[in-house]
Amino acid sequence: IIVGVPLWWRTTETYRAWLPVSQINELSNLQLQLSAEVEVVFARGTVTPEQQKKVPLTQIQDEEHTVDGDLFINAVCLVVTKIRRLQGNICLKCVFSRGHSFEVQDMDVYVGQRRTALLRIGAQMRVGKTLDQLLAHLEPRIKQVLQVMSFSHTDISAALSDRVRLSPGNKESIADSMRTFKSSPGYEITFSLLNPDPKSHRLHWDIEGAVQTYIQPLLTKLASVANFSIDSQTLYYAMLGVNPRFDSSLSAYTLHSDSLAHVINPVEARLGSNAASSNPVLNFLLYVPDAHHSPLYIHDRKKQEVPSNAFHSPRWGGIMVYNVNGFYGPEAVFPVDVNINMAKVMGVFLAQLRLLLGVQSSTAPSGFLVAPCGSNGLADWELDRLMWSRSVENVATATTTITSLAQLLEQIGNIVINDNIAEQVSSAVTSLQLAVAELETGNLRFALQYSKEAILASERAFFDPSLLHLLYFPDDQKFAIYIPLFLPMCVPILLSLLKIVSDARQKRREKQAKKD
């Protein structure tokens, strides 16, 4: 028994490598501190020289937000007033209105392409105000600009929607979170040209050049966020699933917005995808209507024409309708060669891509004028914004994954935990701790990188094929296995033990009798 029982125990127990459970539990009480550095530059003439000397150099603003009670976020803003301008930080310039410096009179803030915003101080603050009043007037406005340019409470809550199911409060933020793809290490973008009528139209599109010129700069800029792979295809005889209606007042065919939802499904069955990767796919379709149904316009709910002639579906992609009937007259010889204007097409696709990736923010507050994004389709502060929300999302997702994995492995005692899983979990925990630390200090790039590593490690650990719990044995089955094996063995052992005990007792009685 001394030898057998431990031997039996060791051979029937499952191999479980050690997991840092205490660290995981610590992580699950997620306390994130996000800090963004801001520089406020006062333009000449806004602040008198005496006031200049008295302006405090650093001012920290703390904002605490609770999300769902067990989650704390502190948004810390360091407001540093200097006269110099540093690169890489958000720079706010406060100017007094001079009348001609802003063309649009009712805009108070102008957000530039890089990380600069120009803030106009109203005329009533110009004369005779003390420094404290000036600062008190500036503070809420600076806060507002920061919320637009880096992160706000709604953005962070939306990024944490994995952990916390929000009740529909802000409709726009809910729609935003449903529309944008979830954070993933890679995405696949597919451009498809749908030609239902090859007998009439012979379409040429320089997709390689267009992608290189218009889309690739955006994707290069987003390289730190995710990998992208692009492919393109042409589909012939691909029809839309709905019949457009002929509108005689416009002498054109129209597609009402209600029927747009049914367009995607018949087409989707014919779009291919890369068999080897499991990355989410963004589909962009360019549909050229056939000659009998040209021109085709999309109408919105108010029966008005849509200028872009395109629509998109959340977490799927976008479709644009491109009419080519204007390129040839009625006496043309079919098939007609048509060169598609890729700049116009890519303009629409780029806008849809920005929406689907979460780069586009919802409506800016009133009084804000946002500069159009540059040639690479992405302003620097928009990239920062995306990186903030992605980092938070990654950290939250990785924490949830690791915590639930630890819970699962604790609950089910029969799953084998291999060494490589323990390794992945440990590295995920380390990366998470580093990511949270970087978020505190505001190093965005490092935070994003660590959060990506954490996500990769945690996903690999959670979805490891060896973690399959197939060993559910109800208790009656356990008894059914062991009883036939051990019962016959136990019977002679028990009998022998009884015999030994009775013999010993008899001997003791004999000894007693002898003594007496």
Partner: protein, 363 residues
């Protein structure tokens, strides 16, 4: 141009929180006389495809091949109505797991996502937190279990645990579970994850019965519950507004002989507000693109002399991982002498107590 973005009013978004649909349809029985289980699964497959879910979002698992079975008098067909009225096999069927690939292990791997990296995309359930999933199981079952392939079974506890793991990883928004077996209601008794709705064809202690046989084919073609479910679904079209309460009324006891059951306590929405097409169809939400970006740069001329690389299909798959796989770890078994030694010990103890004289007779 101004970045004045106007987003269209979101009426549709808030009725249900999903943006895509998936379906996992499983038939677990093999052998020719279980033709009706394959026909059940294929008729749900057909309805789901007709209402819009594409093949890339359907994982179809059929444990046996009836259409090309040697005993099928009409090869390449699987009928659901007698007199061969409706061929549910069709021209366009894509079976993802077939024959012996349909095991409890593979089914659980599909649900939890723990598939080996060499698995192609079509065999994976790539759902996210905004996916509504329909899971349909059919076969032979009992109180608390479902039989796979006549050799193994899945218990209701394992199924509930698998759904909980899906919930932990947010692999579904809402899940509809339909099971057509004997004593099917026992399979959803143990569910404990939120946002699950379950339907079963019979209660514990009842048998699900089959519908009529076809005399030419020689087997029963469909089970009753799925037969009436198919008839109900044939009336649904992609823009239909029928809701789950109508689905609960399918196949009352007078038609089904068994009592269908359902479970909605874990479902957060009111079942009356959940449309049939939320699970069986794939109605996409669309938004009009209001803004475009003004691009003015001319297109760069791409160098045509670049070598066109050709890929073969196989190159995309991690073949080297498959070839150079480490051999599976064999479980450690006690040496064969262990049991023998144990018995020797027992015998020695036995003879020690009852006297050595018996030992002489043995040796």
């Amino acid at each position: 141009s101004h970045a004045a973005i106007k987003i269209q009013p979101m009426r549709q978004f808030f009725s249900s929180g999903h943006t895509n649909n998936w379906a996992v349809l499983v038939c677990t029985s093999r052998f020719w006389f279980n033709y009706r289980h394959v026909a059940n699964t294929l008729s749900v497959y057909r309805s789901v495809k007709r209402l819009g879910i594409p093949d890339s979002h359907i994982v179809l698992m059929l444990a046996d091949d009836m259409a090309c079975n040697h005993r099928n008098p009409k090869p390449a067909t699987v009928f659901s109505h007698k007199n061969m009225e409706l061929n549910v096999y069709g021209d366009d069927v894509e079976v993802d797991y077939r024959g012996y690939e349909v095991t409890v292990e593979n089914f659980l791997r599909v649900l939890t996502g723990r598939l080996p990296p060499s698995t192609p995309r079509s065999k994976r359930l790539l759902s996210d937190d905004r996916s509504n999933i329909l899971i349909y199981l059919t076969g032979h079952g009992g109180n608390g279990f479902l039989k796979f392939q006549d050799s193994e079974e899945i218990s209701n506890v394992e199924l509930a645990d698998a759904f909980e793991q899906m919930w932990q990883k947010r692999r579904y928004n809402e899940l509809l579970f339909i099971i057509d077996t004997c004593q099917g209601a026992s399979m959803y008794e143990r569910f404990y994850s939120p946002n699950l709705m379950a339907l079963a064809s019979s209660q514990v202690g009842e048998d699900s019965l089959s519908h009529q046989p076809d005399l030419a084919i020689g087997v029963h073609l469909m089970d009753r519950y799925t037969f009436y479910l198919l008839e109900f679904l044939e009336d649904i079209h992609p823009s239909s507004k029928a809701n789950m309460n109508d689905l609960f009324k399918v196949c009352p006891k007078s038609q089904c002989v068994s009592t269908p059951g359902h479970r909605t306590d874990l479902f957060l929405r009111d079942p009356g507000s959940a449309l049939i097409t939320d699970f069986f169809g794939s109605v996409r939400k669309v938004e009009i693109t209001m803004e475009t970006i003004n691009l003015t740069e001319p297109i760069h001329f791409v160098n045509e002399e670049r070598q066109k690389e050709t890929y073969s299909y196989v190159d995309q798959l991690p073949v080297s991982e498959i070839i150079h796989q480490k051999p599976k770890q064999k479980d450690w078994h006690p040496p064969d002498g262990f049991i023998l030694g144990l018995w020797t010990l027992i015998l020695l103890v036995f003879f020690k107590t009852y006297g050595m004289k018996h030992l002489k007779h043995i040796f």
